[in-house]
Symmetry: C4
Subunit: 238 residues, 4 copies
């Protein structure tokens, strides 16, 4: 089996594992006083999704032509599997699902980017708020104790507003914050870039129309002259 086949076949199981993880993770974080049995069950589910991601990663490394180079170029995938702290990043798998939604909703490249950005941002905000709440809830001196506050904080962070009415104090919470800030910089970048490429396109379309009226004229005249030339010969030599 080739790497490409593996990746195509693994797409669905990974997406399902990501959705299952997202539900189980939300449950664990949002309802903290779970009965003991349920908590154990959710931990099993978490372990199962971890297994799916690990099997996929190992399979890809085994099937890669140059294994060492593959590992070096997919360090994030390795870290997601190895570090429990990075569990929430499993949700990023769902962004591959967004591709399918985005294609059905919008048609132009910029429209698709817009849908993609909106859905990814919502997903990142939701998962980031959960991870932040998990990290900060019981920390000493923390000021993020509810999901509402955590979501509000995540929004002020990803837009780079940063009032400072709420902010993380733990190392884990600050790592989540840093991830959200990077997402924020990328968000600003993507929004601006889409608008810019759309404007550049519109301006050029205008210019193109103008210069096409001009230039093909040249070619047109050349063709006309050739046609005339041929016509003359046609009458001369036939």
């Amino acid at each position: 089996m080739t790497l490409a086949t593996w990746q195509r076949r693994a797409e669905l199981p990974l997406a399902i594992a990501a959705v299952v993880f997202l539900i189980s993770y939300s449950w664990t974080v949002l309802v903290p006083d779970l009965p003991r049995e349920l908590r154990f069950a959710l931990e099993l589910v978490d372990y199962a999704t971890w297994l799916v991601f690990t099997v996929d990663y190992v399979g890809r490394v085994v099937l890669a032509e140059r294994r060492w180079s593959y590992v070096r170029h997919h360090l994030v995938d390795l870290l997601i599997v190895v570090l429990p702290l990075l569990r929430p990043l499993r949700v990023l798998r769902l962004i591959t699902l967004l591709r399918f939604i985005e294609r059905r909703v919008a048609h132009s490249l910029q429209g698709r980017v817009a849908v993609y950005v909106a859905l990814s941002t919502a997903l990142v905000l939701y998962t980031g708020s959960l991870a932040e709440l998990e990290a900060e809830r019981h920390a000493h001196g923390s000021n993020i104790h509810t999901f509402g506050t955590s979501l509000w904080w995540a929004i002020t962070t990803i837009t780079t507003v940063g009032y400072g009415d709420h902010y993380p104090v733990t190392t884990q919470g600050r790592l989540v914050a840093a991830a959200l800030m990077i997402a924020g910089v990328a968000l600003l970048g993507v929004v601006t870039a889409s608008l810019a490429s759309w404007l550049v396109q519109r301006v050029r379309l205008g210019a193109e129309t103008a210069s096409q009226d001009e230039r093909p004229g040249e070619v047109e005249r050349l063709r006309a002259e050739l046609a005339e030339l041929r016509a003359r010969f046609g009458t001369d030599h036939s």
Copy 2:
């Protein structure tokens, strides 16, 4: 009647309803100790503008060819009509009016974008400040009590500066804040994109001029040769 006809005819009534709503909404929020009768009258006006928006929305859905698809693609319009919380979004209708102003003031695409952005930003800032003041004024632990403070907060939010000297504490106020932040990201994006497309255009114009000096030369020479060719034949065969 087709959907397009409906929309063209509805444009003026909707714009008027939006202006009337903006005045009545400003009055209600900025002058809180209104006499009972006036408050009742303003509520009636608010209801009347709601009716205009609802009739327009129903009309558009009825006239749409694929109604379900139309509803799905115009969810915001539905929410504006259904949720009283989103009343301030009626003001967005006025942005269609801005189109007419913008066309009269500026000529280049970037100039028009600049006027459009300035006017939309002013409108969004004013309406956002009103909505924020309404949400926060009497809230427990709030720090936004006057329109001046609310406007100042709105400016620090839309530019993503976010000092944190004033910030919303209610859910409704935070929703308004999130809307302003999204507007801020879009604002940054539009300003940057306009400048970028203008610069790209200038750089390309320079390049175009250079390459037009070059390339048409080729075509010119081709044409000259054809002309000469034809001239020869002209003298040979006539």
Copy 3:
């Protein structure tokens, strides 16, 4: 005398007036315990620079072909003359001087934009800090009392960082802040746009080189065929 002549001749006096105003304004703000006579002298200087700007404005309106339209399109110039609060905006005149510096220092369009942005930002930061200090220094509950603090605050504002360790509390100070924030949004936009246009240019230059190797080939071959054609005829008919 035409409007263009007036503007060309007014450029130097206005620039001098702006420099003089900047020095006198810095003096007034940075050395608050001035002897009475000096303060009076500086007020006279301030009045003199105001006169230069007013005469220039009146002259331009008188010489404009369509006076009312000219006034409408140059509202900021009117406000600078009418409102003492906007005195610091006189410094913006110096940005026309920057044009001459910028042309001598850099050659490419992006290089010139970079020099222009750096110098304008420095000028805006300096003047903004002075204006903020003047507005906030003696205000009740203010936290900006020295020029150092004011400059630091201006830097955190124009870069849209906004820690909130210092922030204006007076209306006048908040107007200065809003101006700096708008400058900040423009700054971000110009920096990004310059980089984007530079990248787009580099990417296109690569593509152009590739497509020029391709396309002229077509024209080249056409020309070769024409040459051959002519050569044949040349031998046949001469």
Copy 4:
């Protein structure tokens, strides 16, 4: 020896000096209670790296054709050598090393920009945190006392979030902050510009493909007519 030769030969020594400085500087700042002998040794190392930079600068000025112009255009290099405060800027030399890494990792222009930006940002964040910690650690009223806090503060600053939970209070610390803010503005700009140029490229590639299907057709037909013309002549005159 020419300036270019000098610069090529100086590249490796300067990079080594920068790495040595970075290690020695980290050691001095992160382990403050060093034994006296070690502290003295690290100071010697610091002096040695300064000597390398100074010799390089003097050499470049001596070898430059127009020395005064060279000094004017390389003021930052002079300041790095003259002001001990700017020592951390020596690390910027390592960015020339990044060029070599970046070329080996990525292929497209945007990919290389991404790797370059990520590595430079990491380097700037690390060095900025060290410099900030050195400036603020023992300052009166400071709130940055550990490297962890300093790094967290640097991240909130470079992304322009600026919560305000930590901020510099010393002049030296604020200079470091200003440098990080400028880096942040540049970071936002580069990320956005890369995305924009990538999008513009993709949009144009689509347009090019479409217009190439169209336009070469014209040339193609012209060529076909010429071929036919030649064929006729070939049969007529041979």
